[in-house]
């Protein structure tokens, strides 16, 4: 037995070394969210779904610096499925914040789907969509390297970064990476023709309609939105924001959840914080897919939001 085990260990040396090398380069260019869970604790956040994930903390920091000199925003917005308002997201935020923070800034973005649950299930925490996602599964959010994340949530081969060098991905439409401040930085490499993009958007909106039809309003999620706000208020200034989307998704959201704005405004006034629905303010933004702002528009929007935090 000993001899066989020794032979197996000897055989494993080369693969093990390859794995070690791959792990050593994993932090430089990673998957979707690894960096979010390896960065240190932060004092200010941008929170919400993928619509807010590419909001630029750097631009906002520059604008708000005069009023909030200690605030250094970190983008901790994931996706609709990873980070809707609920116990898991709140728990993750609680772990990610520097506990002593008193003068932070928190941009909390809201959208109807982040406050809804599966229509076919009870509004019970155990049926929530985020339960099996990385935000819920990662209990250590500021550890580098984050072995827990790599084992539980890293969906690629451990040699993925090495693989990319050997076998670069083909037909890449966009390159996405996460910056040190948590911002999802997307670079569009191949642009679809306007006609094709229109077709794609049409299909996406049909899918969006189907998705939202399967959801219902969640009192529990609203409760957790309030809890999240209350928690953040202990650490600084909170602003509630509804991200701008194009007309079609906005009308889908409003027809499914007509009193959404009213409910959010109610929470904002109850908690005495500012709420801005940027769909009601005139703009010339462009979207990559009707709901996510294009990189140029996001830069522009980050300036707008920075100024609104300031005032």
């Amino acid at each position: 037995m000993k001899k066989s085990i020794v032979r197996l260990i000897l055989f494993s040396v080369i693969p093990f070394l390859v794995i070690c090398y791959s792990l050593s380069i994993i932090n430089n260019s990673t998957d979707d969210f690894y960096k979010r869970f390896t960065s240190s604790q932060q004092n200010s956040f941008i929170l919400g779904s993928s619509r807010a994930a590419s909001m630029d903390p750097e631009i906002i920091d520059q604008i708000i610096h005069q009023k909030f000199p200690n605030a250094k925003l970190y983008n901790y917005a994931f996706t609709w499925a990873h980070s809707p308002f609920g116990p898991k997201y709140l728990e993750s935020i609680e772990k990610k914040i520097i506990p002593e923070t008193k003068d932070g800034v928190f941009i909390v973005t809201v959208e109807p789907t982040a406050l809804m649950v599966d229509r076919g299930q009870p509004d019970d925490l155990k049926f929530y969509v985020e339960n099996d996602k990385s935000v819920a599964k990662t209990s250590m959010v500021s550890t580098n390297p984050n072995i827990e994340y790599l084992i539980e949530s890293y969906d690629f081969s451990v040699t993925n970064e090495l693989n990319k060098k050997i076998r670069p991905p083909k037909n890449v439409i966009a390159e996405v990476r996460i910056l040190d401040n948590g911002k999802v930085d997307g670079k569009i490499i191949k642009q679809n023709s306007p006609k094709k993009q229109e077709q794609i958007n049409k299909i996406k909106m049909e899918e969006f309609q189907v998705k939202i039809n399967k959801l219902k309003t969640s009192e529990n999620r609203f409760l957790y939105l309030k809890k999240t706000i209350n928690f953040l208020q202990e650490h600084g200034t909170v602003i509630l924001v509804r991200m701008p989307v194009n007309k079609v998704p906005y009308s889908i959201e409003n027809s499914t959840f007509p009193d959404f704005d009213e409910k959010i405004s109610e929470i904002a006034s109850m908690e005495r914080i500012k709420y801005i629905n940027y769909n009601k303010t005139p703009n010339h933004y462009k979207w990559t897919d009707e709901v996510h702002l294009s990189p140029e528009s996001m830069r522009e929007f980050s300036k707008v939001i920075g100024n609104d935090v300031l005032n």
Partner: protein, 477 residues
């Protein structure tokens, strides 16, 4: 806990050392196996551990009763045991199917009242362990199991962790024989087991999961694709299902070998089958041989007075069970029915039981060149009924394949490197087809450098082509 996960590796290392180093007798080894099997099952579905324990205890008790009784009482206990197993299977797997169809029937007759569907969670592995338990009771009744095992051994047989999720469905007697004596470590079996696990991992992670990157989007957008593309999709799915399921089986058999337990094979290179009967002798062998022994043979004896018609009836019922076993969906039932219908020409020609002599040569014979592609195409087309979501999709899918658009060029991108991987796998399997698994004796007798180099290539291809972890297709059954 997937067999190809880090957790499983850790779990198995702990179990392995406890099994060989600390377990001083066969009884303790079996306790380790049972504890490991229940822990493994809990990692999938802890809610249903009590169900499996209760079913095991109940069928063990009934098995004893069958053994100790004679005549009518023996048969009564057998019927009661099978009823008990089937009732839980029917409830968990088929209850809503019957309700849905009953409701549709009510609608046809203009009745608006509808029965409510129940929210039933499906206990993982139930189809596999239920068949193990039924087989056990039938074997006692038929005197194929000479002595009743201990409750511990029987519990290991029902819940044995490498097989509980997706088989193979072992027969009681050969499996229980494994447990009688203390398993000693054997370096030859150890190496053989590791090689089989490696080959299983390769087939699953490199071949099946990468084909899935083509077939999944292809099936999603099937209504926009032409006939030739849809046919390619069906053929690729056939290979994917084989690589996925046989990959799992190779891992399960390899893991069992490491534990000194020999389990039943499930595949014998079905992609190289030469006709319908030959295919079913090579595909999911543990299920088909189970059904042959406990369903088809008794039926064909009962129907023997009706000649070929009786044989056809027995085959049709047998395949109806195959379809139904896969799931409570009409497309699975049709899959079973069509599989049965495909046998009819062989029955009528008297060729059903005629075994085809397969050559071991690397160059295929004329018959192989002629028969293998035809059988492959036939079963690729049959696969449509397996992977579709419902019968509507199946009808539309077939309509497009059998339209003029079949003669157009495919209108869906298919990565060349995946085709290359499939070809390499098929070549290896073709060369190794006389052996238990593809690479078993591929480089036997060659130097260590050559052998290890080949294994390294497989390991690095797994690293290189690994994509997000996917469950095994057959785990859903």
């Amino acid at each position: 806990m997937l067999l190809n996960s880090y957790y499983f590796i850790f779990f198995f290392i702990v179990l392995y050392f406890a099994y060989y180093i600390f377990a001083k007798s066969s009884k303790i080894q079996n306790i380790v196996l049972l504890a490991g099997s229940y822990i493994f099952y809990c990692s999938w579905s802890w809610e249903f551990l009590s169900l499996i324990i209760f079913s095991t205890a109940a069928t063990f008790f009934i098995g004893n009763k069958i053994k100790s009784n004679e005549g009518k009482n023996k048969v009564r206990w057998l019927r009661f045991g099978i009823f008990l197993i089937l009732i839980q299977l029917l409830y968990f797997k088929y209850f809503n199917f019957f309700i849905e169809n009953f409701n549709e029937l009510l609608q046809i007759f203009g009745l608006k009242d509808q029965l409510n569907l129940l929210k039933i969670i499906f206990p993982i592995g139930i189809s596999f362990y239920s068949f193990r338990m039924i087989g056990y009771l039938l074997d006692i009744r038929n005197n194929k199991l000479k002595e009743i095992p201990s409750l511990l051994d029987y519990s290991v047989f029902v819940a044995f962790f490498p097989c509980i999720i997706a088989g193979p469905i072992d027969k009681a007697a050969p499996f229980l024989n494994n447990l009688k004596i203390k398993r000693e470590f054997s370096s030859t079996v150890f190496t053989d087991g590791l090689k089989q696990i490696l080959w299983g991992l390769f087939k699953k992670l490199v071949v099946a999961d990468n084909i899935a990157t083509i077939t999944s989007p292809l099936f999603e957008s099937y209504h926009t694709l032409n006939g030739s593309t849809l046919f390619i999709g069906a053929a690729l799915y056939f290979i994917q299902l084989y690589a996925d399921f046989s990959g799992y089986t190779d891992m399960a058999i390899g893991i069992s070998k490491l534990l000194g337990i020999k389990i039943q094979p499930n595949f014998n290179y079905p992609l190289f089958a030469q006709n319908v009967a030959d295919y079913w002798r090579r595909w999911h062998i543990s299920l088909t041989s189970w059904l042959t022994e406990y369903v088809f043979t008794p039926l064909s004896i009962n129907f023997r007075d009706y000649g070929k018609f009786g044989l056809i009836m027995a085959i049709m019922i047998n395949f109806l069970v195959v379809g139904f076993w896969h799931g409570a969906e009409w497309h699975y039932i049709f899959h079973g029915l069509v599989s049965g219908i495909m046998f009819i020409p062989l029955i009528l020609n008297g060729k059903m039981n005629k075994k085809i002599k397969a050559s071991d040569a690397i160059i295929p014979t004329k018959d192989e060149i002629k028969n293998i592609p035809v059988t492959f195409i036939l079963f690729s087309l049959l696969m449509v009924l397996f992977f579709v979501k419902d019968m509507e999709m199946a009808v539309n899918y077939y309509k497009e394949i059998f339209s003029l658009s079949f003669f157009q060029l495919p209108n869906f991108p298919i990565q060349k490197e995946i085709i290359l991987l499939i070809l390499i796998t098929l070549i290896i399997e073709w060369i190794g087809r006389g052996k238990e698994y593809g690479i078993k004796e591929l480089f036997t007798g060659k130097s260590l450098v050559i052998r290890w180099s080949f294994y390294y290539v497989l390991v690095f291809l797994i690293f290189l082509f690994y994509i997000a972890p996917k469950g095994f297709i057959y785990a859903q059954f």
